[in-house]
Protein backbone atom coordinates (compact mmCIF):
# COMPACT_ATOMS: atom_id res chain seq x y z
CA UNK A 1 0.00 0.00 0.00
CA UNK A 2 1.36 3.41 -0.89
CA UNK A 3 0.10 6.96 -1.25
CA UNK A 4 -0.55 8.59 -4.60
CA UNK A 5 -1.09 12.32 -5.01
CA UNK A 6 -4.04 12.85 -7.31
CA UNK A 7 -3.46 16.10 -9.24
CA UNK A 8 -6.93 17.23 -8.11
CA UNK A 9 -7.82 15.50 -4.84
CA UNK A 10 -4.39 15.41 -3.20
CA UNK A 11 -2.78 12.56 -1.33
CA UNK A 12 -4.91 9.41 -1.22
CA UNK A 13 -4.40 5.74 -0.57
CA UNK A 14 -3.51 3.49 -3.50
CA UNK A 15 -6.70 1.44 -3.04
CA UNK A 16 -8.69 4.38 -4.45
CA UNK A 17 -6.79 4.21 -7.76
CA UNK A 18 -6.67 1.91 -10.75
CA UNK A 19 -3.56 1.25 -12.78
CA UNK A 20 -3.84 2.09 -16.48
CA UNK A 21 -0.59 0.65 -17.89
CA UNK A 22 2.09 2.39 -19.94
CA UNK A 23 1.42 6.00 -20.94
CA UNK A 24 2.15 7.90 -24.15
CA UNK A 25 1.35 5.11 -26.59
CA UNK A 26 -0.03 6.82 -29.67
CA UNK A 27 -2.52 4.99 -31.83
CA UNK A 28 -1.21 4.83 -35.43
CA UNK A 29 -2.89 7.34 -37.73
CA UNK A 30 -3.69 4.74 -40.38
CA UNK A 31 -3.84 1.22 -38.88
CA UNK A 32 -4.69 -0.42 -42.20
CA UNK A 33 -1.36 0.73 -43.64
CA UNK A 34 0.61 -1.17 -41.00
CA UNK A 35 2.07 -4.63 -41.32
CA UNK A 36 0.92 -7.28 -38.85
CA UNK A 37 4.20 -6.95 -37.00
CA UNK A 38 3.88 -3.19 -36.66
CA UNK A 39 0.27 -3.51 -35.47
CA UNK A 40 1.21 -6.21 -32.97
CA UNK A 41 4.02 -3.98 -31.76
CA UNK A 42 1.56 -1.14 -31.11
CA UNK A 43 -1.00 -3.45 -29.56
CA UNK A 44 1.04 -5.75 -27.33
CA UNK A 45 4.66 -4.74 -26.94
CA UNK A 46 5.43 -2.70 -23.81
CA UNK A 47 8.67 -1.41 -22.31
CA UNK A 48 8.30 -3.20 -18.95
CA UNK A 49 11.44 -1.61 -17.47
CA UNK A 50 13.00 -2.20 -14.10
CA UNK A 51 13.27 1.41 -13.00
CA UNK A 52 11.51 4.64 -13.99
CA UNK A 53 8.31 4.00 -15.93
CA UNK A 54 5.74 6.43 -17.34
CA UNK A 55 2.27 5.09 -16.70
CA UNK A 56 -1.37 6.08 -16.43
CA UNK A 57 -3.53 5.93 -13.30
CA UNK A 58 -7.17 6.81 -12.68
CA UNK A 59 -8.61 8.00 -9.37
CA UNK A 60 -11.47 5.50 -9.48
CA UNK A 61 -12.94 6.07 -6.03
CA UNK A 62 -12.40 9.83 -6.13
CA UNK A 63 -12.68 12.34 -8.96
CA UNK A 64 -12.47 9.59 -11.64
CA UNK A 65 -9.88 11.54 -13.63
CA UNK A 66 -6.95 10.01 -15.51
CA UNK A 67 -3.42 11.30 -14.97
CA UNK A 68 0.17 10.24 -15.55
CA UNK A 69 2.68 8.95 -13.05
CA UNK A 70 6.39 8.34 -13.32
CA UNK A 71 7.04 5.43 -10.98
CA UNK A 72 10.10 3.36 -10.28
CA UNK A 73 8.91 -0.20 -10.87
CA UNK A 74 11.75 -1.54 -8.75
CA UNK A 75 11.17 0.48 -5.57
CA UNK A 76 7.59 1.68 -6.13
CA UNK A 77 8.81 5.23 -5.48
CA UNK A 78 6.65 7.78 -7.27
CA UNK A 79 8.96 10.22 -8.99
CA UNK A 80 6.55 12.55 -10.75
CA UNK A 81 2.84 13.09 -11.26
CA UNK A 82 1.53 15.16 -14.16
CA UNK A 83 -1.81 15.72 -15.86
CA UNK A 84 -2.91 14.25 -19.16
CA UNK A 85 -1.53 16.40 -21.97
CA UNK A 86 1.42 17.70 -19.97
CA UNK A 87 5.01 17.00 -20.98
CA UNK A 88 6.46 13.92 -19.32
CA UNK A 89 9.48 14.53 -17.08
CA UNK A 90 12.87 13.43 -18.33
CA UNK A 91 13.94 9.98 -17.20
CA UNK A 92 15.91 10.20 -14.00
CA UNK A 93 17.50 7.70 -11.71
CA UNK A 94 15.84 9.27 -8.66
CA UNK A 95 14.04 6.75 -6.50
CA UNK A 96 16.25 3.88 -7.61
CA UNK A 97 17.43 3.24 -4.08
CA UNK A 98 14.86 1.53 -1.90
Amino acid sequence: MFLITCPWCGEREESEFTYGHEAHITRPEDPSALSDDEWADYLFMRKNPKGPHLERWVHTAGCRRWFNVQRNTHTNAIMAIYKIGETPPKATTAGNKS
Binding site: W8, C9, G10, R12, E13, S15, E16, A61, G62, C63, R64, R65
Partner: protein, 210 residues
Protein backbone atom coordinates in the same frame (compact mmCIF):
# COMPACT_ATOMS: atom_id res chain seq x y z
CA UNK B 1 -38.05 12.64 -11.30
CA UNK B 2 -39.88 9.70 -9.76
CA UNK B 3 -43.42 10.43 -8.59
CA UNK B 4 -43.36 11.16 -4.87
CA UNK B 5 -45.74 8.32 -4.00
CA UNK B 6 -43.43 5.80 -5.67
CA UNK B 7 -40.29 6.81 -3.79
CA UNK B 8 -38.79 4.04 -1.66
CA UNK B 9 -35.69 4.52 0.39
CA UNK B 10 -33.20 1.65 0.03
CA UNK B 11 -33.18 1.46 3.84
CA UNK B 12 -36.98 1.23 4.16
CA UNK B 13 -36.82 -2.42 5.14
CA UNK B 14 -34.76 -1.65 8.26
CA UNK B 15 -37.70 0.12 9.91
CA UNK B 16 -35.58 3.12 10.91
CA UNK B 17 -38.52 5.42 11.68
CA UNK B 18 -39.89 3.00 14.28
CA UNK B 19 -36.43 2.43 15.71
CA UNK B 20 -35.82 6.16 16.00
CA UNK B 21 -38.99 6.51 18.10
CA UNK B 22 -38.12 3.53 20.27
CA UNK B 23 -34.53 4.66 20.81
CA UNK B 24 -35.15 8.37 21.34
CA UNK B 25 -34.79 7.88 25.09
CA UNK B 26 -31.37 6.24 24.89
CA UNK B 27 -28.76 8.37 26.58
CA UNK B 28 -25.01 8.37 26.63
CA UNK B 29 -24.63 6.95 23.16
CA UNK B 30 -21.42 7.77 21.38
CA UNK B 31 -22.87 7.59 17.89
CA UNK B 32 -26.19 8.63 16.34
CA UNK B 33 -27.09 7.23 12.92
CA UNK B 34 -29.88 8.47 10.69
CA UNK B 35 -30.95 8.31 7.10
CA UNK B 36 -31.78 11.47 5.14
CA UNK B 37 -33.93 9.92 2.44
CA UNK B 38 -35.04 11.30 -0.93
CA UNK B 39 -32.66 14.24 -1.19
CA UNK B 40 -32.51 15.64 -4.71
CA UNK B 41 -29.11 15.10 -6.27
CA UNK B 42 -28.33 16.78 -9.57
CA UNK B 43 -25.09 16.13 -11.41
CA UNK B 44 -23.76 19.06 -13.45
CA UNK B 45 -20.89 18.99 -15.90
CA UNK B 46 -19.43 22.01 -17.63
CA UNK B 47 -16.40 24.18 -18.16
CA UNK B 48 -15.37 25.82 -14.87
CA UNK B 49 -13.15 28.32 -16.71
CA UNK B 50 -16.10 29.67 -18.71
CA UNK B 51 -17.66 32.64 -16.83
CA UNK B 52 -20.93 32.14 -18.77
CA UNK B 53 -21.26 28.60 -17.41
CA UNK B 54 -20.60 29.71 -13.82
CA UNK B 55 -23.09 32.57 -14.24
CA UNK B 56 -25.78 30.25 -15.63
CA UNK B 57 -25.42 27.89 -12.67
CA UNK B 58 -25.45 30.81 -10.20
CA UNK B 59 -28.58 32.19 -11.81
CA UNK B 60 -30.30 28.80 -11.58
CA UNK B 61 -29.53 27.68 -8.04
CA UNK B 62 -28.09 30.81 -6.37
CA UNK B 63 -24.86 28.97 -5.60
CA UNK B 64 -21.40 29.25 -7.14
CA UNK B 65 -19.85 25.94 -8.22
CA UNK B 66 -16.67 25.63 -6.12
CA UNK B 67 -13.44 25.24 -8.07
CA UNK B 68 -11.41 24.22 -5.01
CA UNK B 69 -11.27 20.40 -4.94
CA UNK B 70 -13.13 18.55 -2.20
CA UNK B 71 -15.26 21.45 -1.01
CA UNK B 72 -18.97 22.11 -0.67
CA UNK B 73 -20.64 25.51 -1.09
CA UNK B 74 -23.89 26.43 0.64
CA UNK B 75 -25.44 25.77 4.03
CA UNK B 76 -26.39 22.21 5.07
CA UNK B 77 -29.89 23.45 5.96
CA UNK B 78 -30.42 24.66 2.40
CA UNK B 79 -29.16 23.75 -1.05
CA UNK B 80 -25.52 22.88 -1.52
CA UNK B 81 -23.17 22.25 -4.41
CA UNK B 82 -20.31 19.78 -4.08
CA UNK B 83 -17.12 19.60 -6.13
CA UNK B 84 -16.80 16.19 -7.79
CA UNK B 85 -14.12 16.90 -10.38
CA UNK B 86 -12.55 19.77 -12.33
CA UNK B 87 -15.65 19.88 -14.56
CA UNK B 88 -18.25 18.12 -12.43
CA UNK B 89 -20.45 19.08 -9.45
CA UNK B 90 -23.34 17.67 -7.45
CA UNK B 91 -26.25 19.85 -6.34
CA UNK B 92 -27.89 18.60 -3.14
CA UNK B 93 -31.35 20.00 -2.40
CA UNK B 94 -34.30 19.15 -0.17
CA UNK B 95 -36.88 16.59 -1.30
CA UNK B 96 -39.30 18.14 -3.76
CA UNK B 97 -37.02 21.01 -4.80
CA UNK B 98 -35.17 19.11 -7.48
CA UNK B 99 -37.64 19.51 -10.31
CA UNK B 100 -37.50 23.27 -10.20
CA UNK B 101 -33.71 23.33 -9.91
CA UNK B 102 -33.45 20.95 -12.87
CA UNK B 103 -35.77 23.10 -14.99
CA UNK B 104 -33.85 26.29 -14.15
CA UNK B 105 -30.49 24.70 -14.92
CA UNK B 106 -31.76 23.28 -18.20
CA UNK B 107 -33.20 26.61 -19.24
CA UNK B 108 -30.23 28.80 -18.33
CA UNK B 109 -27.59 26.47 -19.75
CA UNK B 110 -29.60 25.99 -22.91
CA UNK B 111 -30.26 29.74 -23.29
CA UNK B 112 -26.52 30.37 -23.05
CA UNK B 113 -25.88 27.66 -25.70
CA UNK B 114 -23.35 26.17 -23.30
CA UNK B 115 -21.65 22.82 -23.63
CA UNK B 116 -22.90 21.31 -20.37
CA UNK B 117 -24.83 18.38 -18.96
CA UNK B 118 -27.44 18.24 -16.20
CA UNK B 119 -28.51 14.84 -14.88
CA UNK B 120 -30.93 13.99 -12.10
CA UNK B 121 -29.33 11.25 -10.00
CA UNK B 122 -31.53 11.56 -6.90
CA UNK B 123 -32.57 7.92 -6.82
CA UNK B 124 -29.04 6.65 -7.31
CA UNK B 125 -27.94 7.40 -3.79
CA UNK B 126 -29.21 7.82 -0.29
CA UNK B 127 -27.65 9.79 2.53
CA UNK B 128 -26.59 8.30 5.86
CA UNK B 129 -25.76 10.80 8.60
CA UNK B 130 -23.41 9.88 11.40
CA UNK B 131 -22.92 12.17 14.37
CA UNK B 132 -22.03 12.10 18.04
CA UNK B 133 -18.81 12.32 20.03
CA UNK B 134 -17.44 9.05 18.62
CA UNK B 135 -18.59 9.39 15.00
CA UNK B 136 -15.12 10.21 13.73
CA UNK B 137 -13.65 7.14 15.39
CA UNK B 138 -16.25 4.92 13.74
CA UNK B 139 -15.45 6.34 10.30
CA UNK B 140 -11.73 6.02 10.94
CA UNK B 141 -12.19 2.25 11.19
CA UNK B 142 -13.04 2.04 7.52
CA UNK B 143 -11.94 5.26 5.85
CA UNK B 144 -8.36 6.12 4.88
CA UNK B 145 -9.05 9.89 4.81
CA UNK B 146 -7.56 11.92 7.68
CA UNK B 147 -10.69 13.23 9.41
CA UNK B 148 -8.92 15.02 12.28
CA UNK B 149 -10.35 18.56 12.64
CA UNK B 150 -6.93 19.97 11.74
CA UNK B 151 -7.16 18.26 8.32
CA UNK B 152 -10.89 17.97 7.57
CA UNK B 153 -13.74 20.21 8.66
CA UNK B 154 -17.22 21.52 7.84
CA UNK B 155 -17.60 22.47 4.20
CA UNK B 156 -15.11 19.86 3.10
CA UNK B 157 -15.95 16.74 1.18
CA UNK B 158 -14.19 13.70 -0.23
CA UNK B 159 -15.13 11.03 -2.68
CA UNK B 160 -13.51 8.11 -0.99
CA UNK B 161 -13.90 4.61 0.36
CA UNK B 162 -15.59 3.70 3.64
CA UNK B 163 -15.49 0.00 4.48
CA UNK B 164 -14.54 -0.84 0.86
CA UNK B 165 -17.63 1.01 -0.32
CA UNK B 166 -17.37 4.12 -2.50
CA UNK B 167 -19.06 7.14 -0.91
CA UNK B 168 -19.22 10.89 -1.13
CA UNK B 169 -18.30 12.04 2.36
CA UNK B 170 -19.29 15.51 3.58
CA UNK B 171 -18.68 17.04 6.98
CA UNK B 172 -21.52 19.37 7.94
CA UNK B 173 -20.65 20.40 11.50
CA UNK B 174 -17.84 20.34 14.02
CA UNK B 175 -18.56 20.83 17.71
CA UNK B 176 -15.93 22.24 20.06
CA UNK B 177 -15.20 18.83 21.50
CA UNK B 178 -14.34 16.00 19.16
CA UNK B 179 -17.90 15.61 17.85
CA UNK B 180 -18.33 15.99 14.12
CA UNK B 181 -21.35 15.44 11.89
CA UNK B 182 -20.78 13.63 8.62
CA UNK B 183 -22.97 12.69 5.70
CA UNK B 184 -22.25 9.66 3.55
CA UNK B 185 -23.83 9.65 0.10
CA UNK B 186 -23.87 6.00 -0.87
CA UNK B 187 -25.20 4.17 -3.92
CA UNK B 188 -28.53 2.59 -3.05
CA UNK B 189 -27.43 -0.99 -3.69
CA UNK B 190 -24.65 -0.50 -1.13
CA UNK B 191 -26.84 1.34 1.41
CA UNK B 192 -27.89 -1.66 3.50
CA UNK B 193 -24.32 -2.96 3.61
CA UNK B 194 -22.89 0.41 4.67
CA UNK B 195 -25.63 1.02 7.26
CA UNK B 196 -25.13 -2.38 8.89
CA UNK B 197 -21.36 -1.94 8.79
CA UNK B 198 -21.63 1.48 10.46
CA UNK B 199 -24.01 0.16 13.10
CA UNK B 200 -21.74 -2.77 13.83
CA UNK B 201 -18.67 -0.52 14.01
CA UNK B 202 -20.56 1.81 16.40
CA UNK B 203 -21.61 -0.90 18.86
CA UNK B 204 -18.65 -0.43 21.19
CA UNK B 205 -19.45 3.29 21.62
CA UNK B 206 -23.20 2.87 22.09
CA UNK B 207 -25.41 3.72 19.12
CA UNK B 208 -28.94 4.89 18.54
CA UNK B 209 -31.01 5.64 15.46
CA UNK B 210 -32.46 9.11 15.01
Amino acid sequence: MVDAYRLRSPLDHLGLTARAQAEAEYSGTGVVLSEIAHLCLINIRGDASDPAFIAAVEKSIKLTPPTAPNTVAGKPSQSRIMWLGPDEWLVITKPGRGERAMAELWKNLKDGKLHAAVTDSSEARTCIRIEGPRAREVLAKGCPIDLHPSAFGPGQSAQCIVAKCGVMLVQTAQAKDTAGTYELYVLRSFATYLWTWLEDASQEFGVRVA
